[in-house]
């Protein structure tokens, strides 16, 4: 009895530093954001309480809804692009072959490069005048396919999505590879004895075995897509005319460029709510399937 009590305290004190850090960098700032979000504040002069005015203004702002739409677009293309691409690469590399380590490194490389570099590199690829993409199109006789990839309103968001998928699918590849390697060899052997090989084995045995991992990555991919900021900020700055602007850029512009910290905080609270809602929907759907 005595010793058990001692252990409880030890556990408490052992967790305390982590708890304090977590409270300090996660819970307290969320609380502060929520507090600022009901204020009108330019950051310098005293705050004025305005109730839900910021929220009603946000909901009435067409540009905000445009940024929500853009976030949803990035989220959907992210899920549809990153997970299958990551899974495909993982299946490809999850076998004994020469240079597997090399290819895994190559696949993972975009994740390690900073977003700033990724944005600058892809900015050059998409460049209208001397960009690689347009040059390739010209050199293979598809002159008419040349586009102003980042400057044309109908292409810019798609171009950004492609970069976003490219940047992240390596991470998903590594997660899937880890999951694939955890599948017991007996299962694989049994499947092969029963005549399931190649594509059939992947679809019927391997993928169902790592279903849990796929769900986790889906949740990760969603929450990731609501946070995307630097990539777009550097490539287009949210332009032209807001067509590539996402909620985080909208928040940044209002809070730090227009000095409306209350309004910006309200947007950040909404970002949190939106991603919580979408993630909980995914979790619910996943549970129903399990049942």
């Amino acid at each position: 009895m005595h010793t058990l009590k001692g252990t409880k305290y030890a556990i408490f004190f052992g967790l305390l530093p982590a708890l304090i850090i977590y409270l300090g960098i996660a819970v307290v700032p969320i609380g502060m954001s929520a507090y600022y979000s009901v204020m009108n504040w330019d950051g310098i002069q005293p705050m004025a309480f305005v109730g839900i005015d910021n929220y009603t203004e946000i909901f009435k702002d067409d540009i905000f809804w445009m940024t929500v739409k853009n976030n949803v677009f990035i989220m959907l293309t992210g899920i549809v692009g990153q997970i299958p691409a990551g899974l495909f690469l993982a299946l490809l590399l999850n076998r004994k072959m020469r240079g597997a380590g090399f290819f895994r490194t190559i696949g993972f490389l975009p994740v390690v490069i900073s977003s700033v570099m990724v944005s600058l590199i892809w900015g050059m690829v998409y460049n209208t005048e001397y960009g690689m993409l347009n040059s390739i199109l010209s050199s293979i006789g598809l002159e008419s396919w040349r586009q102003n990839w980042l400057g044309d309103t109908s292409w810019s968001l798609i171009s950004i999505s492609i970069t976003y998928i490219w940047q992240n699918c390596g991470l998903f590849m590594v997660i899937f590879l880890a999951a694939l390697q955890n599948i017991p060899t007996e299962v694989n052997e049994a499947a092969e004895l029963d005549g399931a090989t190649g594509f059939k084995k992947s679809m019927l045995i391997t993928i169902p075995m790592i279903r849990g991992t796929i769900l986790v990555t889906a949740v990760y991919s969603i929450s990731n897509s609501f946070r995307v900021f630097d990539l777009i900020q550097i490539m287009t700055g949210g332009g032209p005319a807001h067509v590539t602007e996402v909620m985080t850029i909208y928040m940044y512009n209002n809070a730090f460029m227009n000095m409306r910290f209350g309004y910006g905080s309200a947007v950040s609270v909404l970002i949190l709510l939106f991603s919580l809602i979408v993630v909980s929907i995914v979790n619910r759907v996943a549970k129903e399937k399990d049942a």
Binding site: A26, I44, G151, A241, F261, S268, I271, S275
Partner: protein, 435 residues
């Protein structure tokens, strides 16, 4: 699953918390400087400025700081150079966290207003005798609020200088820059026919169209007092004459006067484009003259001009849109010892010497000092061009939030998703809703 939720929260909040962290970190830097100042005889002053790129004037400023430290061994200037594109954001964020540097570079008018309202800057009226003989009142006006002076400018920038390629214009039959708007449009069309990009524009950062092009059109169509009238609610952006000014950008877009990637290029890339002879005109500030002409071996190829008059315009075709820049201001919360040191620095830094050095490097200054013999012919030409009165720059008068709506609207016009009428309406609505 729990961990992933936690992670997400942490990351999300990170975005918001980042700036707070950055600014509080800078605040700590300040405190450290203070304590070291108190402990010994040395006073350390932090100085935040946007002089990081290798411009001629930046070199003058830095040499001046070095000179000060040499002659004042008991005062240490701790410089915090921030790239100019991010400077205003950092200044505002630090102001919000109440941790401005001891000495700061500030912008006049609409940008200065919140800093003054928050009592963050030291009024320097008692020191003005140092500058009254060389700085005319209109050079100081932008840094004067409520009858008090808060900063001293170091340079004057005209934002609407049209740089043009003389050879290209002569190839379409214009030996001089067009002197009327119709001829200007005619030149654009002729350049286009010859497959030359008429105007190189780098509008990714969204300010060039607003600052350099709209400001000049505004002067030509509605005159210098229009923006103030709009703020006083005596005029509206939706007035037909102002819509006409905006529709010039619509017309230029339809004529494909700008390079196709105007919205993906930054202003420096657009300068390069022009210097390399890929476009016939570039509309930008007097600051870039040093790149385009003064330090450029082939500088003679390029001429400077102002946007010509328009028929029925209410403004003055000789006026150039300009602002005084780089006001040196002192933090209001310094202790006596640091305050004296900061004032000492200010007196040394901004004086006749500085203005003369800037002039001899080809930079226009707001002070009345004799132009030295060795000043470049380009500078003399610039001073002659811009010496016929100054008209306001849009974003130096109009509050930032409204400028943001205007900038996005102008960008929307250039990609064909908005019209002059709609942008005028949006900007006016934003102004009406301003709290």
């Amino acid at each position: 699953m729990r961990t992933s939720k936690k992670m997400k929260k942490v990351m999300l909040v990170g975005t918001v918390a980042l700036t707070t962290l950055v600014s509080s970190a800078c605040g700590n830097g300040n405190n450290a400087a203070e304590s070291s100042g108190d402990s010994g005889d040395k006073v350390t002053l932090s100085f935040m400025h946007p002089w990081t790129s290798p411009n001629v004037d930046n070199e003058v400023y830095k040499a001046r700081i070095a000179e000060f430290e040499k002659t004042h061994p008991n005062i240490v200037i701790k410089q915090d150079g921030v790239a100019s594109a991010q400077y205003k954001t950092k200044l505002r964020t630090l102001a919000a966290a109440n941790s401005l540097s001891d000495i700061n570079v500030v912008w006049p008018g609409a940008d200065l207003q919140p800093l003054v309202a928050g009592d963050l800057l030291l009024p320097i009226d008692s020191e003005m005798a140092n500058w009254s003989s060389i700085l005319p009142e209109d050079a100081l006006a932008g840094f004067n609020q409520g009858g008090k002076q808060y900063a001293i400018p170091t340079k004057q920038t005209f934002v609407d200088i049209v740089y043009y390629n003389k050879e290209m214009f002569s190839s379409i039959g214009y030996e001089a820059f067009p002197d009327a708007y119709d001829k200007f449009i005619d030149a654009v069309k002729k350049l286009k026919e010859k497959n030359i990009t008429p105007i190189s524009l780098g509008n990714k950062e969204k300010w060039p169209l607003q600052s350099s092009i709209l400001s000049t059109l505004q002067e030509r169509f509605v005159g210098s007092d229009f923006l103030q009238k709009v703020l006083n609610k005596e005029a509206k952006f939706t007035d037909p004459q102002y819509v006409k000014a905006l529709s010039v950008i619509e017309e230029l877009t339809k004529l494909k006067a700008f390079n196709t990637d105007a919205n993906n290029m930054d202003s420096v890339q657009a300068q390069d484009y022009f210097i390399q002879g890929k476009a016939a005109m570039h509309i930008s500030s007097s600051t870039v003259d040093s790149r385009i002409r003064i330090t450029n071996e082939e500088g003679d190829k390029f001429g400077i001009a102002l946007m010509p008059s328009v028929e029925g315009g209410l403004g003055d075709a000789k006026k150039s849109a300009g602002v005084v820049q780089f006001g040196i201001a002192i933090n209001s919360e310094l202790d006596e010892k640091k305050k004296q040191a900061a004032l000492e620095f200010m007196k040394f830094f901004v004086n006749e010497e500085l203005y003369k050095e800037l002039i001899s490097k080809g930079v226009v200054v707001p002070a009345k000092v004799d132009i030295p013999e060795d000043a470049s012919k380009y500078l003399k030409e610039m001073i002659a061009l811009t010496g016929n009165g100054t008209s306001p720059v849009f974003d130096s008068v109009i509050p930032t939030q409204i400028t943001d709506v205007m900038q996005n609207g102008l960008q929307a016009i250039t990609v064909g998703v908005s019209t002059a009428e709609k942008v005028a309406q949006d900007v006016q609505t934003a102004l009406d809703n301003l709290k």
